[in-house]
């Protein structure tokens, strides 16, 4: 029997249709084979696609949300490059979706923080839905390293320490040059001849 999972948020609705994989021993209410999905957004084009497209959407959006939590957003894309998310100003995010069909222009959708949060929530709900018995290849959330967080520090602040270090080095070098050089002493001239013993 065909199953439909539906997840609603204020600005979007995700609906996934599929069938249980009977050969894998799945129950009648499970979805092991996704036959289609659609994402409806208020006032925006409706998206639909296959399992691969859904997975690509999750591969781009969920890691991007993870980066946003660390206030270090940067471009994220799916493994097949069909979906990408990038910051497009304060509180605005641009989602670019490339169709798998030829001669179809890419679709760009601008989302504010609230709409992105709604999208993340429906994807999370789907990901953690026990009835969806499907292996999704999604990266695990990992802590960021110091280098990855550098973007959130202003360049001025980031460069302050090395510039100060260079200045100190330069000043100390200059100061050391100002020190008087030690006088050369002629050892032979100054060394007094030993007085003969009487």
């Amino acid at each position: 029997m065909k199953q439909t999972l539906r997840f609603d948020q204020i600005s979007c609705r995700l609906q996934v249709e599929g069938l249980p994989d009977v050969s894998a021993g799945q129950g009648s209410d499970a979805i092991g084979i996704v036959t289609g999905w659609n994402l409806q957004w208020a006032g925006r084009p409706e998206l639909e696609g296959k399992k691969e497209h859904l997975q690509a959407l999750m591969q781009a959006v969920l890691p991007y949300a993870r980066l946003l939590l660390s206030d270090a957003p940067r471009l994220q894309h799916s493994l097949d490059q069909s979906v990408q998310v990038t910051p497009a100003g304060p509180g605005v995010h641009r989602l670019t979706l490339r169709s798998s069909q030829p001669d179809t222009p890419a679709l760009e959708v601008s989302l504010d923080d609230a709409e992105l949060a709604d999208l993340v929530r429906v994807l999370d709900q789907l990901r953690l839905e026990p009835r969806l018995q499907l292996q999704l290849e999604l990266p695990a959330a990992q802590p960021l390293r110091g280098r990855q967080l550098q973007a959130r520090i202003p360049k001025r602040q980031r460069l302050a320490a090395p510039v100060a270090a260079l200045l100190v080095l330069g000043v100390s070098t200059a100061a050391s040059l100002l020190l008087p050089a030690p006088k050369l002493v002629n050892v032979e001239a100054t060394t007094s001849k030993p007085t003969p013993r009487r």
Binding site: Q3, R6, A65, L107, D113
Partner: protein, 354 residues
């Protein structure tokens, strides 16, 4: 099929399938109309309206404004009443169900309890303030439409009621527990503790009963061994180096996980309000009023509990310079809400210190 086959909204409307308005969240009913809304005969639709507020978003938004308003009113009133009393007698104000043993913790900052007090006439006070915002009439109308919404400021109770129905904010919390891996051995870095505590503070700024709700949520999540009472919660939060009274050491892994879980559940509960604060679709004046109310309440809490001599606290209190940080805290809470929020939030709190 593919992304390129995305149908424009107008075209989707033209398809004219019978989408029941009741199935859609308010505000989206006209726009979100598509063919797949209707189930075929042999098709089983499992509708996961995870957040009850999705259908009651506007109502909860207005309600949450009321809660913030209440918070401002109550805090002013209570701080005058309680500050002297608590300092003189070293006892804490009582709240429902709190034992006397907990009250006698000498080091508990009396200011920490201010948010827990509820005035009996606070609803009346907020009703006086709401017309000034021009939303009282709307609120009354919504209250008529949906009798399930209770009095303003009673969010914890509502959450309890809703949760028993199986569609409440905590419906996702069980998912959080399931998603929670075994506690990691690595301690939370200093900046992570700061952010965690600040987000809990934001939750209290958004909801007058935020502190009580935190305890209630920890009980609901089965975390009473880690967060047993207010004193334990306060002790854990005092690992934040920005606090007035700082505790040395760091949170244990189980404490870290418990606090993150509670925060995720709090964010889930407060999601409609978090969303409203972040949304660019809201009218500008309403959005500004919401931010002003939230920031005022947050400033009061920060002044009461954090060390104002710390530069981080001064930045947070800065009306202009602290705005991006306050927005980031709200955005983090919104993205940490929900079932998958736990892993994301924990990973971000474990970021390397920069």
């Amino acid at each position: 099929m593919g992304f390129g086959q995305a149908r424009p909204a107008a075209q989707a409307r033209e398809l004219g399938h019978k989408a029941k308005p009741a199935e859609l969240p308010p505000g989206c009913a006209d726009q979100l109309r598509a063919g797949s809304c209707c189930a075929a005969r042999r098709q089983q639709i499992i509708d996961d309206q995870h957040l009850a507020a999705a259908a009651e978003g506007i109502a909860l938004d207005l309600q949450a404004i009321g809660a913030v308003l209440e918070g401002v009113v109550d805090t002013r009133y209570n701080s005058r009443q309680l500050a002297g009393f608590a300092h003189r007698h070293k006892a804490q104000p009582h709240s429902g169900g709190q034992s006397r043993t907990n009250d006698e913790a000498a080091r508990l900052d009396p200011h920490d309890q201010i948010g827990l007090q509820t005035l009996t006439n606070s609803t009346e006070l907020s009703n006086h303030l709401l017309p000034a915002l021009g939303i009282a009439h709307q609120r009354r109308q919504i209250a008529k439409q949906d009798a399930r919404l209770g009095e303003i400021g009673d969010l914890a109770h509502q959450a309890a009621q809703v949760d028993r129905g199986g569609h409440g904010p905590l419906a996702g919390s069980h998912g959080i527990i399931a998603a929670m891996a075994s506690p990691t051995a690595a301690p939370l870095p200093r900046r992570g503790i700061e952010r965690l505590d600040l987000m809990l503070l934001c939750a209290e700024a958004l909801d007058l009963n935020g502190a009580e709700a935190t305890l209630w949520l920890s009980e609901e999540l089965g975390l009473t061994e880690v967060v047993s009472d207010r004193v334990e919660l306060w002790k854990q939060r005092c690992h934040n180096p920005l606090r007035r009274h700082v505790r040395r050491g760091s949170l244990t892994p189980s404490e870290t996980d418990a606090l993150i879980q509670v925060l995720c559940s709090q964010s889930e509960r407060l999601y409609p309000l978090l969303r409203a604060l972040l949304s660019a679709q809201e009218p500008l004046d309403i959005s500004q009023q919401r931010w002003a109310l939230f920031e005022e309440r947050l400033r009061e809490l920060i002044r009461e509990r954090l060390n104002p001599r710390r530069s981080g606290v001064q930045t947070l209190l800065d009306p202009v310079g602290g705005a991006p940080q306050r927005r980031q805290l709200i955005r983090t809470m919104a993205l940490a809400a929900g079932q998958g929020g736990f892993e994301r939030l924990k990973a971000s709190l474990m970021d390397a210190s920069s």
